[in-house]
């Protein structure tokens, strides 16, 4: 397990340049959020930060692609620890993005437009979906080993865009459905809105299980390639 933590630390070291970019993004989001004071904007900022996070989570794959073999694969650790470390890096990075996105919602909480509980539950739901999408992205990266930088760029951007724009459209659609409380979907959505904590917990549990499953599958695949 310690080896996985070491690989996670190494992946964070690879993100030095991107960390500066993230700091800039946070400032932009805060500026945007403080100007556009509406309830959905408080949630939008978390969505946007996780969107950036999903794209940046694939950076270690890109960097490993650009470097000759011989260092990372020869570090004294099992291949599956490399994979677990990568998944841990993604989880921690997305959590950090969620927290940063939540901070940008503070102006809305101060204004009384949304509650801390709402931010928390929405943040956990978005994080869970982000983890789910990122895990799929990693499975694709490990199984298909795309070396072509142009294709890799598309694969890096696609999941994040699906998450952000898909999430935005879904939120609008669900909002409209919720207003029609007489239909079954509307009733379900109303129930979910009243029990956001439970929904968030279920989403997170499912995302964690799914992420761990993906990590195990990818870890086995990497081990088989070397031994």
């Amino acid at each position: 397990m310690m080896d996985a933590v070491r690989f996670m630390k190494m992946d964070f070291m690879k993100m030095k340049t991107q960390a500066k970019l993230m700091a800039l993004v946070v400032l932009v989001v805060i500026a945007f959020a403080s100007k556009m004071m509406g309830e959905t904007m408080g949630v939008w900022s978390i969505l946007y930060m996780i969107f950036m996070g999903i794209i940046l989570c694939s950076t270690p794959f890109s960097i490993d692609n650009m470097v000759a073999d011989g260092f990372i694969k020869l570090l004294p650790a099992r291949a599956r620890q490399r994979v677990f470390g990568r998944y841990m890096f993604a989880a921690v990075f997305l959590i950090v993005c969620t927290v940063l996105g939540s901070f940008t919602s503070i102006p809305y909480v101060i204004k009384g437009q949304i509650t801390v509980g709402y931010i928390l539950s929405q943040g956990v739901i978005f994080l869970s979906v982000g983890l789910f999408i990122n895990s799929l992205q990693y499975v694709f990266s490990y199984f298909f080993e795309i070396k072509n930088q142009q294709w890799l760029s598309i694969i890096r951007l696609l999941p994040g865009f699906i998450f952000f724009f898909g999430g935005s459209v879904l939120m609008d659609t669900l909002g409209e459905m919720q207003e029609g409380t007489r239909n079954k979907i509307g009733m379900v959505l109303n129930y979910a809105m009243e029990h956001q904590g439970v929904v968030a917990f279920v989403f997170l549990a499912a995302a964690v299980v799914f992420t761990m499953l993906c990590a195990v599958v990818c870890g086995k695949r990497e081990e088989r390639k070397e031994a």
Partner: protein, 284 residues
């Protein structure tokens, strides 16, 4: 005790096959692993270091197979190649941090002393290092920890003569204690001539010969003479026969040199000449 034992190593690709590669490298010796481009040198090294999975055969380092203890197996290996394998945006200090984290035997002071000795800048990014600096940094990372087998994959390609000589001296120092060995893959045979104790010649994925440098030099002779001295019997036994308007040159086994005319000149060949003659003979 053999540092490296390879038995029946095999790897199949669509258009290339590494077949039945076997060698034993005793502790305290340097083996030159030579062959043309595309002969299978890097493939062999990738299999020994377990960066790729073999399709058959057994590999042991200090008597241990990879599956017995993958961590310890990798700890015993030092690997240097022709291209820098550190992430481009890392600095020397980042590399130090990683090596300290992963390798139990890594000595920080020794690493920093080597880096200072070789004037490697601490805060400069790896991507801005010259080739010579990258090679030195890779060596610093290896010499600062306890390894048993140093593997070089075309590591001296493109180095200036000063740095190249430095590398060859590092290799000779490395085996001084008699407990460590070097496997040096290259197609630049003049580098091997200087320092190798053993030569493994691979061609199109197959072992052609593996022996000590002295045995190989004893086994073969460089024969030169006028065209009139070249009999049919002799030409059949000479490998890599090169004829010019005034004479001929080639490599012949010492045992078969009796078929040559007394006027022929016999010399001790370089490894370069032997390998080129073999390749030419096999291509014909």
């Amino acid at each position: 005790m053999n540092t490296l034992e390879v038995c029946g190593l095999q790897k199949n690709y669509k258009d290339f096959c590494l077949k039945d590669i076997s060698l034993e490298l005793p502790a305290g010796y340097i083996c030159g692993y030579v062959g043309q481009n595309g002969a299978g040198k890097t493939t062999t090294l990738d299999l020994i270091t377990h960066q790729k999975k073999s399709d058959g055969g057994v590999i042991k380092i200090n008597g241990m197979e990879y599956k017995e203890n993958p961590k310890k197996y990798k700890e015993m290996i030092g690997y240097v190649r022709d291209m820098c394998y550190f992430p481009n945006d890392f600095t020397l200090l980042d590399i130090q941090r990683i090596l300290k984290d992963f390798y139990e035997t890594f000595e920080e002071d020794k690493f920093m002393n080597l880096c200072k000795k070789w004037n490697l800048p601490e805060k400069k990014k790896i991507k801005d290092y010259s080739k010579g600096m990258s090679i030195r940094l890779m060596f610093a990372g290896i010499l600062a920890r306890d390894t048993k087998l140093l593997i070089l994959d075309e590591a001296t390609n493109g180095l200036d003569p000063v740095v190249k000589q430095e590398v060859l001296e590092i290799l000779q120092d490395y085996i001084q204690d008699g407990e460590r060995s070097v496997l040096f893959s290259t197609h630049i045979l003049s580098d091997i001539e200087q320092i190798a104790d053993y030569i493994f010649f691979i061609h199109k994925g197959k072992k052609i010969f593996y022996d000590t440098k002295e045995e190989i030099a004893e086994k073969y002779l460089l024969v030169k003479g006028g065209l009139e001295e070249l009999t049919d019997a002799a030409s059949g036994k000479i490998k890599g026969l090169k004829k010019t308007s005034v004479g001929f040159e080639g490599i012949i086994e010492s045992d078969e040199s009796t078929c040559l005319s007394v006027k022929c000149v016999l010399e001790k060949p370089t490894i370069d000449k032997i390998v080129v003659a073999f390749i030419k003979d096999m291509e014909e």
